[in-house]
Amino acid sequence: MHPAFSVIFFTTASGLGYGMLALLGLMGPAGALPIERWFGVTAFGLSLAAISLGLLASTFHLGHPERAWRAVAQWRSSWLAREGVMAIATYVPAGLFALGWVVLETSGGAWGGLGVLAAICAGLTVAATSLIYRSLKTIHQWHNGFTMPAYLLLGLGTGALALQALLHLFGEPRAAVAAVALGAGLAGWAVKWAYWRFIDESRARSTAETATGLKGGRVRLLDPPHTQDNFLLKEMGYRVARNHSRRLRLIAQFAGFALPLALTVAALTLPTLPAAMAAVLAALSGGLGVVVERWLFFAEARHAVTLFYGASTV
């Protein structure tokens, strides 16, 4: 599948924003974060900006961005519509919870309840995003059990790294947040590693033979229907070279998991200033790694329609 910049940016930025929001909503009321005005302004500012910029970017690739409001209509059947509904709904508890934190400097009682609600909504939104891809029966590399855990864990992991960096900058590091970053990072790494093995070793049930239904041996494309790439080949025929994808997987694992994990551990032991630098670097590296991971998620996905255009398996 063609790796479009707008969708890569959307899923990574909004994943980070929702991950951070979920942590604020759960760890704030639990007393694990500083319930303080300026920290609140920065943390909610960053999280909601990442979410909103991501959502905005996702409308860039539409043919009719001005009609984007229509995209919530069919929530009964469409995961894209459900994602839109959840994204809008999340703003309500998230906004109120942020208000309590920033204006009243409280996250107790009912305000804490709003935080938990915001966290649940954030999780459901990311889950809905992943299910847009997970539900497509035409793409073996997406239609599997790894897609949703990867989106949830990578969102949580990058969100925790960003929150951790912010806490360090405010001089209030929290071991609990570092623990979430480590846990989500390790689990995310394991899921992606298992996913890459899975897509290397398995193929979709559909083949050139089932696509054409022709009997009597192997089916090969002899004569393509057109001489230049059409929409189908530009959008769905994207292929990344094998050696490129190997290298990019290594980069994604190093920048996305190995380096942030090591820096997070280091930040726990280093003195204030180097610790803050390590935490910021961990967040930047993690974000970059997930962008590479997301690029691969699209570039390594093979669409069933390519079976009509010369692929024998997908």
């Binding site: 009719h64 209509a73 090969r220 229907p225 057109h226 790439d229 669409h303």
Partner: protein, 247 residues
């Protein structure tokens, strides 16, 4: 509406006979010709005179080779929307622009509602949806709704453009819900089948397999005797003439 109808009154669709399609591209051309002025008009062409020609087409004919060596054969393979009974191209649409009609089962796009998110084209394994970047909306085969119900046309012309034009009669149009229709009978007689049944979209259109061969490709054609010169090469003069002519 993006939810699928539980059932449709009619199930209109095509039967494509792979035994007799000659790959002439007449259906492709007439489809483009009709539809660029029809319901989904225009079928935009991008850089039609440039090096990278591109554009929207609803029907494409591929050429496949199946099997190896002497037993291999060439099959011309038209590909267009199959107007599936349970297609995700409809249910994934967030706006309700992509829909399936409960009256006749035809799958259409409402171009006034489509936001051009392209998700429906990702959900179609058959490559039946082609995005029009100029109009910013998705376009696809309409089964020529503007012909099949068109009372300004003679009744024998009320068939999809591809069916009307096929010179070898490899394409048939009809109602699969009626067991006595031409298309239902053809499917029964000839073993019409679904493309990629494992995806589970239950295509309405059916393909008829090429008939088994009576002879291999190399056994038909001119007899060997006609291809070899039937002259007495013992005669030096004739041998010289033969060499001269064979150069």
């Amino acid at each position: 509406m993006t939810s699928l109808p539980a059932s449709t009154e009619k199930r209109l669709g095509l039967v494509i006979d792979l035994d007799i399609c000659v790959g002439c591209q007449a259906c492709v051309t007439n489809c483009k010709e009709w539809n660029t002025g029809g319901h989904s008009a225009p079928l935009t062409d991008l850089a039609p005179y440039g090096a990278k020609v591109d554009g929207v087409w609803f029907n494409r004919v591929h050429g496949f080779e199946v099997g190896e060596g002497k037993k291999s054969r060439t099959v011309h393979f038209p590909r267009s929307c199959l107007h599936c009974e349970a297609p995700d191209c409809v249910t994934v649409c967030p706006t309700g622009a992509s829909y399936k009609r409960s009256a006749d089962g035809i799958v259409l796009v409402d171009h006034d509602k489509c936001i051009g998110c392209k998700l429906c084209s990702w959900a179609c394994p058959y490559g039946a949806r082609e995005y029009d970047p100029d109009a910013g909306v998705m376009k696809k085969c309409t089964l020529c709704i503007d012909r099949i119900y068109n009372e300004h046309l003679e009744s024998h012309d009320r068939v999809p453009a591809c069916v009307a034009t096929c010179p070898s009669r490899a394409r048939h149009f009809g109602d699969f819900a009626d067991p006595l229709s031409n298309v239902s009978k053809l499917v029964l007689d000839r073993g019409g089948y679904d493309l990629m049944p494992e995806i589970g979209y239950k295509p309405t259109n059916k393909y008829l397999p090429p008939r088994p061969r009576r002879t291999d490709a190399r056994e038909v054609g001119a007899e060997r005797a006609y291809l070899e010169p039937d002259i007495d090469l013992a005669n030096p003069l004739l041998r010289w003439v033969n060499q001269l002519l064979s150069r």
